[in-house]
């Protein structure tokens, strides 16, 4: 409690770069910081630097719509994300920083019987893995979200929904700062405004990185650069089957409590939640074209507004306050690419598309374990880069295309 009043530094001021670290983590987003935090905490590996080209959380970590859930479609995916949700549930206490994790429940609407089949499949897989997830009919939807327009004279009547009570939203900045503070207190160095411009190798292994603030030697490099993943992997001559797209979102002016559950409609490419600040947060699916240009578009506002009013006509007079855009690194099967690559010591966390924020803690723990033990943890074995050579993809298209 005293902590509230005392001004305590969250982390040390940025210092000089050392000549050598055991591990260099590229990217100060949620994954880079989580990996750093767990390296120090779980494995005592502290000679670690996180290099971030801008400020921490400047990438997708600070722009995402923070949906945390585990009702995925494939057993591999569902199991993995479930572990992450469990870690998130404990993380506020562990970091002694309130991440404002609001497990309000998550409803994915079905507007067609085809959608209901997919949802049944997800619910069945989820239940077998011990994840709280079930298909509910319109009366239950009405109970969970009385604000929804459940009438039949709309274009896409609601036939049911996949309900995931433990799904929620979290404060993205808090996650970034809590992890950064934890990593810093564990002894890891965080270097904002330090861009990696080259990756040194010899005999097929990494030996160091070049940065805008000088060169560093290291044994292991973790690229946790999300939307920039292919650019950084290119520096190590590793090719990733990833394309970068933009994803947009917007918030309205803050309202008194209106919506107590997260609502997703894949059919209408829209999802809606209300943040603890009262803003209605609305997102869509990825833009179909590839780009690194983070400009927001107007058609996005128009079609999202149209779709959200189909679901919540009462929001007609509520105003949009601001919109923004972030980069997303999309893999062909909507599952991540995690772990080792053909270059020794070059480890990646990539292919996160629109759904990687929820995975930060599990990525952090598993990559830290991989670095410490040299072995790929079983939980992430299905997600290796190698699967694109062996053609053993893990398709989450049905569960991740719109509901992030």
């Amino acid at each position: 409690m005293r902590d509230i009043f005392r001004t305590r530094r969250m982390w040390r001021p940025r210092g000089e770069l050392k000549d050598r670290y055991d591990v260099v983590i590229v990217g100060g987003g949620s994954h880079g910081l989580a990996t750093a935090y767990y390296l120090a905490k779980n494995h005592g590996i502290t000679n670690v630097a996180v290099l971030e080209q801008s400020y921490i959380g400047s990438g997708a970590a600070g722009r995402n719509t923070t949906i945390v859930r585990s009702n995925y479609r494939t057993p591999e995916g569902a199991r993995f994300y479930q572990r992450s949700v469990e870690l998130y549930e404990r993380l506020s206490r562990e970091l002694d920083f309130n991440l404002l994790f609001s497990q309000q429940g998550h409803l994915t609407l079905a507007h067609s019987d085809r959608a209901l089949i997919t949802m049944t499949e997800r619910a069945e897989v989820n239940q077998l893995l011990g994840i709280d997830s079930r298909v509910v009919g319109p009366p239950e939807v009405a109970r969970l979200c009385p604000e929804l327009d459940l009438s039949h004279d709309v274009t896409w009547p609601i036939l049911g929904a996949l309900y995931h009570p433990r799904g929620g939203i979290i404060r993205h900045d808090a996650v970034v700062w809590g992890l950064a503070r934890g990593a810093d207190r564990g002894g890891v160095e965080i270097h904002p405004y330090t861009e990696v411009t080259g990756i040194e190798r010899s005999n097929g292994r990494v030996t160091g990185v070049r940065t805008t603030r000088g060169d560093i030697e290291c044994d292991t490099i973790v690229s946790a650069t999300a939307g920039w993943s292919t650019l950084v992997a290119d520096l190590a001559d590793v090719r990733l089957p990833i394309t970068t797209h933009i994803l947009q979102a917007f918030v309205t002016e803050p309202l008194k409590p209106f919506l107590d559950v997260i609502v997703v409609s894949s059919q209408m490419h829209v999802y809606v939640s209300q943040t603890d600040r009262g803003e209605i947060l609305i997102g869509a699916e990825i833009e179909p074209y590839t780009t690194y240009r983070g400009t927001s578009t107007f058609p996005f506002l128009e079609y999202s507004a149209r779709h959200v009013l189909e679901l919540f006509p009462q929001l007609e007079n509520v105003s949009v306050l601001r919109q923004w855009t972030g980069l997303c690194d999309l893999s062909p099967d909507y599952s991540p690419i995690l772990g080792v690559t053909e270059v020794d010591g070059f480890v990646v966390s990539a292919g996160w598309g629109t759904y990687g924020f929820k995975a930060a803690p599990i990525v952090g723990t598993t990559l830290a374990e991989l670095i410490s033990t040299g072995r790929t943890p079983e939980l992430i074995a299905p997600f290796t880069l190698e699967r694109f050579y062996t053609d053993t993809l893990v398709s989450e298209l049905a569960a991740a295309a719109v509901s992030h």
């Binding site: 001021p13 400020y55 920083f97 309130n98 404002l100 077998l128 008194k256 306050l321 919109q323 398709s395």
Partner: protein
């Protein structure tokens, strides 16, 4: 109490308007805004602040600041200072518990203030975890501003209009007008939009250009798109040249007590006195860094307010400055220890160019140290800035006011961001905690994230931040300007907001027959006509007809048509004779199944390709893409909408058809997988003898205007044979009995033709086809899972999407399942591990949480040798 009439005033004293505030009638003049009318009625407190529930009064009277947000006719957060009065409007305060003057939540300010330093929520309420949901509920309840009527419906009053102009001028101030006139003189087509004209001196409608007001440009988007909020119409402007004359925004000064009711920006004084003939108060003090403050002092004097003191920051640089108040209203101001009583305090911290539109269009924003403001630089092509928006003039703001002023004693708080209730202490604390880059500090303190989007706090917060971190403002950079420039209602953005839906030409017939309609993609289709079992029986025993107009239909023709199709599909077509049909599966370059359909060869160089109902668009795009890549001499025409299609199926379909056509429909004359062109009931048809539903059947494709006629004729002439229309549900049962696959239901984005038991159609000996490399790889690797049929041991129908369970874990999935009367069993299709993909393998399927046994079947459940189909 109004001042004597003046020629400048905007109110019409001969016309009164009555509206309701908190249920009480308020009398106003035409020309008033809700804000001015309430002020005239003596109201001074207009809102309660976001966090501390401090009383707040009019501040800018320009629609920028958050101080006058109210609920107006159910719409939350309306800036009443600029909202015109309308008869009968119902206005309520928002974010108060009790009333505006007595808000119970104001205790937060008294006791909570010191307990809720910046970011306090990150550090509290962590333990015990069980209590967090309760804390959270409380937090949510106190957060947020307006409320909405949960039962409100769409008004459908909004519309969208597409507009063009050669020159679009944004802003009708002097420089905007000059720019518009000049461009008009050059003979350009000019449109000028202004958000506030209705309020300030009314513009004469000028010749030479069009003026739209009040109309607010909300952004300059890609491709020069400028959406303009014109009330109930959204104007989507495209212009060759956009001139931004959005002016400048008056900036507050930072000193303790700067949020008290009675503290005004110069624009508020100007508008209150000149437009609405209102006296802002009795006794005023003016503290200013530019001429605007001096002008406000003049306005005050004219309105009969005595101006007790004017502090011109260009000539005096006080070290200390603070306002003190009681009950939230300003009572006195002290400057360097010298205290003056007042009930109005005008502050003017200079003005900041309103550059947001420019920044959003791609301009760089740079700090000008001598003037203490941000100015836009490097404008993108076709965008210009004129007047104060360009940083011109910012007249008289030669004096850069101190970042913030020290108060005297403890007490009054100095607000950096009034929207979010962030004080200078909060900013200092954030920096001390390590949030030492402006973006981090912004996110942590939430400065600039309130309803005004930083219009009033962006500049002061950066200057304060620079001072505290001992950095130059110029090196700090600025936080990104995020569109839109001003809040826009969702209803306006949505416009009429229709969602597209597709209906076949027979839609009304289906309705008349009492069909239950359902969605398949964007199509509305009959689920059934009321009796699924009878419809199935009709097809098995007599004849049925189903509307399959939703099938995608493409005509592929040209000398290279065969090469084109052979390279697209894994199938072979070179050996397909004219008049013959082949089932084909389209694959992606990764060898995944994308779509399926039948391909009929009409002549040497013409092919008729059908696709799934939902896949038509994708397949067409795919065809066109590859055709462009390969450059074949082929044309692809989409005839999906032009042609309707009916499937007439059942043992008696031949007899029915024979009555209606001269075509030889005998088994030898028109065999299975033959295609023929002929007239049926006089309608020119393409007849395809195929059998998705597993009985003898004919698909008739014909110009859609004939659809109702042909449908009626079939039903009429088939009546004695017991013809029945059948819907999608019976069709699904029928095709499942034949184990026919529905792409997209029985397959997913990872399925390939080999694992889906369609290896017979993949011709690996062809030179190349899309996905060949990938399928070769699959062949080498062997299957990962296989699509098989199954029948339930005890008749329970498992859910579609149900799981095949092995050792308690998901190992496969049911994609289709139905009860079949014809088979007398619950049957289905499922993906199973290869080890279980043998005839008679036992699998277990989870149904309602229990495991139910089933047996794998590799052949069709009904008529396994296709005897009926080929009859």
């Amino acid at each position: 109490m109004r001042l004597p009439p003046s020629p400048e005033e905007r109110i019409d004293r001969s016309r009164t308007v009555t509206f309701f505030f908190e249920g009480e009638p308020i009398e106003a003049y035409a020309g008033d805004t809700i804000g001015s009318a309430l002020f005239a009625a003596g109201r001074r407190v207009f809102s309660r602040s976001f966090k501390y529930h401090r009383p707040r009064g009019l501040l800018c009277c320009s629609g920028h600041c958050p101080n006058c947000l109210m609920q107006v006719d159910g719409a939350p957060s309306v800036r009443v200072c600029t909202a015109p009065v309308r008869e009968g409007t119902r206005v309520r305060s928002q974010n108060v518990l009790g009333s505006l003057d007595r808000d119970l939540l104001a205790v937060v300010d008294k006791v909570g203030g010191p307990f809720t330093p910046v970011g306090f929520y990150y550090r509290t309420m962590i333990r015990p975890r069980r209590a967090w949901p309760y804390y959270e509920r409380f937090l949510r309840r106190v957060a947020g501003l307006g409320t909405i009527d949960k039962h409100a419906r769409r008004s459908s009053r909004f519309d969208t209009e597409h507009r063009r102009a050669e020159v679009l001028v944004i802003g009708g101030g002097p420089s905007g007008l000059d720019a518009a006139r000049a461009a008009a003189r050059d003979g350009r087509r000019v449109v000028l939009v202004d958000e506030g004209l209705a309020l300030d001196a009314q513009l004469p409608r000028e010749d030479g250009f069009e003026t739209i007001a009040p109309a607010r440009a909300i952004g300059i988007y890609e491709g020069g798109l400028v959406p303009v909020d014109a009330g109930d119409v959204l104007l989507r402007f495209r212009a060759e040249r956009v001139v931004v004359a959005s002016g400048a925004i008056e900036q507050p000064l930072l000193f303790p007590g700067n949020d008290l009711v009675g503290v005004l920006l110069p624009s508020a004084v100007r508008r209150l006195t000149r437009l609405w003939s209102l006296r802002p108060g009795e006794r005023a003090v003016v503290i200013t860094a530019d001429d605007r403050g001096l002008a406000a002092a003049e306005d005050l004097r004219r309105a009969g307010t005595s101006v007790a003191r004017v502090v011109d920051l260009r000539t005096t640089q006080p070290a200390q400055m603070a306002a003190r108040g009681s009950h939230g209203r300003v009572r006195s101001v002290s400057v360097d220890g010298d205290s003056v009583d007042c009930d109005v305090l005008v502050m003017s911290g200079g003005s900041q160019p309103a550059y947001s539109l420019l920044a959003q269009a791609g301009a760089r924003v740079e700090y000008d140290g001598t003037r203490g403001i941000f100015v836009p630089r490097d404008l993108p092509p076709h965008v210009e800035a004129v007047g104060s928006a360009a940083g011109e003039g910012a007249r008289g703001a030669a004096a850069v006011p101190a970042a913030s002023y020290r108060g005297t004693e403890s007490g009054g708080r100095c607000f950096v961001c009034i929207c979010e209730d962030v004080t200078d202490k909060d900013v200092k604390r954030a920096i001390a905690e390590g949030f030492d880059s402006i973006e981090l500090a912004k996110r942590y303190t939430t400065v600039t994230m309130g309803p005004c989007q930083g219009r009033l706090c962006h500049l002061p917060s950066i200057r304060l931040y620079a001072r505290e971190t001992r950095a130059e403002e110029a090196t700090i950079g600025t936080t990104t300007a995020r569109p839109p420039w001003a809040p826009v209602r969702l209803g306006l953005l949505a416009g009429r907001g229709h969602e597209p839906a597709k209906r076949t030409s027979l839609h009304h017939r289906h309705k008349e027959l009492g069909a239950q309609m359902m969605w398949t993609g964007e199509w509305r289709r009959p689920h059934s006509y009321g009796d699924v079992a009878a419809e199935v029986r009709a097809v098995h025993e007599g004849v049925g007809v189903i509307d399959v107009s939703t099938l995608g239909k493409l005509l592929v023709s040209g000398p290279d048509a065969v090469s084109f199709l052979e390279r697209l599909y894994p199938n072979r077509f070179g050996d397909l004779k004219p008049g013959r049909i082949r089932y084909a599966v389209l694959g992606t370059d990764a060898g995944r199944i994308m779509d399926d359909g039948t391909i009929g060869r009409l002549s040497e160089r013409d092919f008729y390709v059908t696709t799934t109902s939902t896949g038509a668009e994708t397949v067409l795009a795919w065809f066109e893409w590859w055709n462009a890549v390969w450059g074949y001499d082929v044309s692809v025409d989409n005839v999906t909408g032009a042609l309707a299609a009916l499937n007439v199926a059942g043992p008696r379909s031949r007899a029915l058809l024979a009555r209606l056509t001269e075509l030889d429909v005998s088994p030898d004359g028109f065999g299975y997988l033959d295609a023929r062109e002929a007239r049926v009931a006089g309608v020119p048809c393409l007849l395809l003898r195929i059998g998705f539903v597993g009985e003898l059947g004919y698909e008739l494709h014909f110009p859609s205007p004939y659809a109702e006629y042909l449908w009626d004729t079939l039903l009429e002439r088939g009546a004695d044979a017991g013809i029945r229309p059948f819907g999608l549900e019976p069709q699904r049962i029928l095709r499942l009995e034949k184990a026919h696959v529905i792409v997209g239901q029985d397959t997913d984005s990872e399925s390939n033709a080999l694992d889906a038991n369609m290896s017979w159609l993949v011709k690996f000996d062809k030179d190349d086809f899309v996905g060949k490399w990938a399928l070769e790889h699959v062949r080498e690797r062997g299957p990962r899972e296989r699509l098989v049929g199954f029948e339930m041991a005890n008749g329970t129908v498992p859910p579609e999407g149900g799981q095949i369970v092995v050792d308690g874990l998901p190992a496969g999935r049911v994609t289709s399942a139905r009860w079949s009367d014809a088979v007398g069993k619950a049957i289905g299709l499922a993906w199973v591990p290869p080890a279980l993909a043998d005839e008679d393998s036992r699998i277990e399927i989870r149904v309602d949480g229990r495991l139910e046994p089933a047996l794998v079947r590799l052949r069709p459940f009904f008529d396994p040798d296709d005897e009926r189909l080929r009859a």
